[in-house]
């Protein structure tokens, strides 16, 4: 499946990119995070389980092993600080 990945704020700065298209053979957000962590130390640190980042799929925040489908937009970002 093809996924669009978006990164925001501090995470975008850490990872050095704001957007990418990924061909993905896994099934869930958990699989995706595991794949991204294998890209190297920066990714493994930024997306470590103890980090307080959030994941949104098609504009809704999801938790746990949320399933992914072709064409999904997956955003990864720090806890929000607006207002």
């Amino acid at each position: 499946m093809q996924l669009t990945l978006l990164y925001f704020a501090r995470l975008r700065d850490q990872l050095g990119q704001d957007q990418e298209t990924l061909t993905f053979t896994g099934h869930s957000v958990a699989d995706l995070l595991e794949l991204l962590r294998q890209r190297g130390t920066v990714w493994a640190d930024a997306l470590a389980v103890e980090q307080p980042f959030r994941v949104a799929v098609n504009h809704s925040v999801v938790h746990g092993p949320h399933p992914l489908a072709d064409g999904d937009e997956v955003a990864i970002f720090p806890p929000v600080t607006g207002g």
Binding site: H59, V80, T81, G82, G83
Partner: protein, 153 residues
Amino acid sequence: MESCAFSVQVQTGRFDAGSEMAALASRPDVGAQVCFIGQVRDFGDQSGVMALELEHYPGMTEKSLLAILDTARQRWPLSAARVVHRVGYLPLGEPIVLVLTASAHRRDAFAACEFIMDYLKHDAPFWKKEHTQAGSHWVEAKSSDQQAVQRWG
């Protein structure tokens, strides 16, 4: 109740609170309006803040804000509500966010305004960066903002 009475907007420019309130006041069932404005102050995670830089997630932001207004409508009998949130580079003293609520009675308008603001800070995908003389840094999320939404049950 018209759906257009509940609206949100994200923009870089300033908002005009007076004209926004006048638009809500024209509804005949409105007996009370509450207006909250958040603005850039000179201290945050660090002192000597000269400006904030705000970014957001276009699309999700608007959806998230509308969902908050929907929840507020289910809890209080609101006639109208509006959120305007600015993004981009905002120097000290600049307004950041406007929350307006209108209802037949003041208690509902007060409570809904505070509820919307608490959930905006908790759910809406905005991020602040503080600029000081020493440099710039991303603002950390606060546990007090987490506690603020928990009190609504």
